[in-house]
């Protein structure tokens, strides 16, 4: 019979072990990606960052895909930030309680739709619509990707900004109102500035989602490894890192697999840096109101 204390210790170590496994997984993913990517990095080096992609000639420049990922993500933010911020301010500051309770599930619903469904609808309805409206050469385009990813980034931006706006202490708002400010002046000059780091972290997370999104983009971006000329020509088709991996992985063999893992490392790094930044920003908000006051 083990003593209760010994048992307590054992339980403690068990949980510590489980937690360690969870953490190890993350390092494991990174190490593994690196091991698989290494042959390509060793063989091509900085050529991987060039703009020429030609499998037949063994040219594996990932720049078009990197460019595509950034273009689509930035474009998605242009769509999602004004709408999402507006909706978040509406929900947290203005909407009466019963309307907020009614609308919140809809935002969650938007987040719950699988990305393959977004891609399917985007490709069939939106792609067609844009093709008809703008007389482009094909139904695939950066524009379609931007619009779909914009919608997909919306729920993250809305719910995270909503949370950080709600975290602004009521006595700050009261102070502003008591000085004769209207509710809108209070929102604009006190609530939003106070919540700004939380809002930025929401925007960064939205961008992370847009960069990491795969299935939706893959079906509407066109999978053409080319930087459009001029570079802001969003009516052209292109590629992103995620779509490149998803499309090529199916039939890939040999060195190209290692190239795709390099693309994976790039994605992983970009998104990891973004979530760390977003985390720091969020922590700063809570510190501002909980630590100091």
């Amino acid at each position: 019979m083990i003593s209760r204390r010994a048992k307590d210790k054992m339980v403690h170590y068990t949980f510590f072990g489980i937690a360690t496994v969870s953490v190890l997984i993350i390092f494991f993913i990174f190490i593994f990606l690196f091991v698989e990517a290494y042959p390509a990095i060793q063989r091509f080096g900085s050529e991987l960052l060039s703009r020429d992609w030609n499998v037949a000639r063994n040219q594996f420049g990932l720049l078009p895909a990197i460019f595509g990922s950034v273009l689509v993500a930035v474009g998605a933010l242009v769509v999602a930030v004004p709408l999402g911020l507006g909706a978040a301010i509406y929900l947290s500051e203005i909407a009466p309680n019963r309307i907020r309770v009614l609308l919140k599930p809809f935002i969650e619903l938007l987040a719950g739709i699988p990305s393959i469904v977004y891609g399917f609808i985007g490709a069939i309805l939106l792609g067609r619509f844009l093709y008809d409206t703008f007389g482009m050469r094909g139904t695939n385009s950066f524009l379609a990707g931007i619009l779909v990813l914009g919608v997909m980034a919306l729920p993250i931006i809305v719910s995270m900004s909503d949370d950080s706006l709600k975290a602004v202490p009521k006595d700050l708002k009261d102070a502003s109102l008591a000085l004769g400010a209207t509710k809108w002046q209070t929102i604009r000059k006190v609530t939003i500035p106070a919540a700004i780091s939380g809002i930025s972290s929401a925007v960064i997370m939205g961008m992370g989602r847009a960069i990491g999104e795969t299935m939706a983009v893959m079906l509407i971006i066109g999978s053409v490894m080319r930087i459009p000329v001029p570079f802001f020509d969003i009516f052209e088709s292109g590629n992103t890192l995620t779509a490149l991996i998803a499309v090529q992985m199916g039939e890939a063999h040999g060195i190209i697999i290692n190239v795709l893992f390099t693309a994976g490392i790039m994605l992983f790094t970009i998104v990891a840096v973004m979530s760390i930044i977003s985390d720091i920003l969020q922590k700063r908000t809570t510190d501002k109101f909980e630590g100091k006051r």
């Binding site: 204390r5 699988p114 809108w184 992985m249």
Partner: protein, 407 residues
């Protein structure tokens, strides 16, 4: 009646109607003629002239001039649009688009309409700060509406186009002739099996980590490392999980054989951070004095956790887990290299055999559209997938609401 308010209300009505017409024209690609566009904008402009002149007659400040100025701008937009070509060929600037003039007409009707109705709050409240507030509120309503429009468009289209395809045959048969006939029975079972196995893997790992974080860990480096790792894991793109799953589980563990277990392991990694976060939140919601009370009665730490902390936080943990599984059920990227085939895998029979799954089924059908007659099947699959994923989400919410603990 107050004439100033009446005029403002008139401006608001006209502008809103113009905005709605513009939106409608945009959505249906209606061929708006120049004269319609001109009439709409001139109407707005004239209303603003009226309001500006009235304001100038009654009050002696510059706001009347401001409104006359805005009215002139609208009028100028209307006039100069006359010179738009029938189709603006952007290819002369190497941009891949040929934009018809009615697109510009409906777009400017939409935006000018919204902006004009936004501005009409100023004269309504006689340029006091209340007007700025109401105008801002109005814009916020508009953003809220535009946030919800895509949702309704998506839901409407899926239900409208997919409902006809959900038949008994569709639900109970395997694929026949590349999805033209038959159904998705093995794919449904495959998706269910996938999330079940995922749950079995992720629950102990996730809840255990959360218990360590919430109950044992002291604030320090270890906790910071774990938290950061969890956050990074949560943001990691699903395709990266797919890559990892393929390289590690499929190639190394299972000898290059796609299988149910490999897919479930990959999905478990994907859902792990969601489970950890929600479980930790649920555990932290249990007040500290409950723990103290139990410890003061001589219970050991583990007894306290088992008897006092876990029971009330169970619904929260379950909600988070089910939400995570809902996300997993809809994912395609992590399973397409690790577990699934379009056809031939049959109903799931072993952990080490490949399966069929709904998300991948939808992808495959999409790729066949245009070659085979699979449109209806594809929409029906999308609808079914949506129903399953949302069903899982709703059951999570029901758990949350039903067993909500209050302290």
């Amino acid at each position: 009646m107050n004439i100033r308010k009446l005029i403002s209300l008139w401006i608001f009505t006209v502008s809103t109607v113009v905005a709605i017409l513009g939106f409608w024209a945009l959505a249906t690609r209606m061929d708006v003629e120049y004269w319609m566009f001109f009439v709409a904008l001139t109407l707005i402009s004239a209303s603003y002239y009226l309001s500006g002149i009235y304001h100038h007659m009654t009050e002696k400040d510059m706001n009347g001039v401001f409104m006359l100025f805005y009215a002139s701008i609208v009028l100028m937009v209307a006039a100069f649009s006359f010179y738009l070509p029938e189709i603006l060929d952007m290819r002369q600037w190497e941009i891949n688009a040929r934009i018809p003039n009615f697109f510009f007409y409906s777009l400017s009707m939409l935006f000018l309409g919204i902006f004009s109705s936004y501005l009409s709050f100023r004269p309504f409240y006689n340029f006091k700060k209340e007007g700025a507030q109401m105008g801002a509120y109005y814009m916020l309503y508009i953003t809220m509406i535009f946030t919800l429009i895509p949702l309704f468009v998506i839901l409407f289209n899926i239900v409208y186009r997919g409902a006809g395809g959900i038949t008994w045959e569709f639900l109970t048969e395997d694929i026949i002739s590349m999805g033209e006939r038959g159904g998705v029975y093995p794919a449904i079972l495959g998706t269910l099996a996938l999330i079940l196995v995922t749950a079995v893997i992720v629950l102990p790992l996730g809840v255990g980590t959360a218990i360590y974080l919430a109950e044992y860990a002291r604030k320090g480096l270890a906790v910071r490392v774990i938290r950061t790792a969890v956050n990074i894991l949560q943001g990691t793109p699903s395709i990266v999980h797919g890559l990892f799953g393929y390289a590690f589980f499929v190639l190394i563990l299972f000898d290059g054989q796609k299988c149910l277990l490999a897919g479930a392991l990959t999905l478990a990694i994907l859902t792990l951070p969601i489970v950890i976060r929600s479980a930790e939140e649920a555990l932290n919601a249990v007040p500290g004095d409950l723990r103290d009370a139990s410890l003061a009665l001589g219970a050991s730490k583990w007894q306290t956790i088992k008897k006092v902390v876990l029971p009330p936080s169970l619904p929260g943990i379950l909600t988070g887990t089910v939400l995570g599984l809902g996300r997993a059920a809809g994912e395609t990227a992590p399973i397409m290299f690790t577990a699934v085939y379009f056809s031939g895998a049959g109903t799931p029979s072993s952990l080490l055999r490949p399966i069929q799954a709904l998300p991948y089924h939808l992808l495959s059908l999409y790729r066949l559209i245009g070659y085979r007659d699979v449109d209806l099947q594809a929409w029906a699959t999308a609808l079914l997938l949506l129903i399953i994923v949302l069903g899982v989400n709703v059951s999570a919410i029901i758990i949350r609401e039903k067993y909500r603990q209050r302290f």
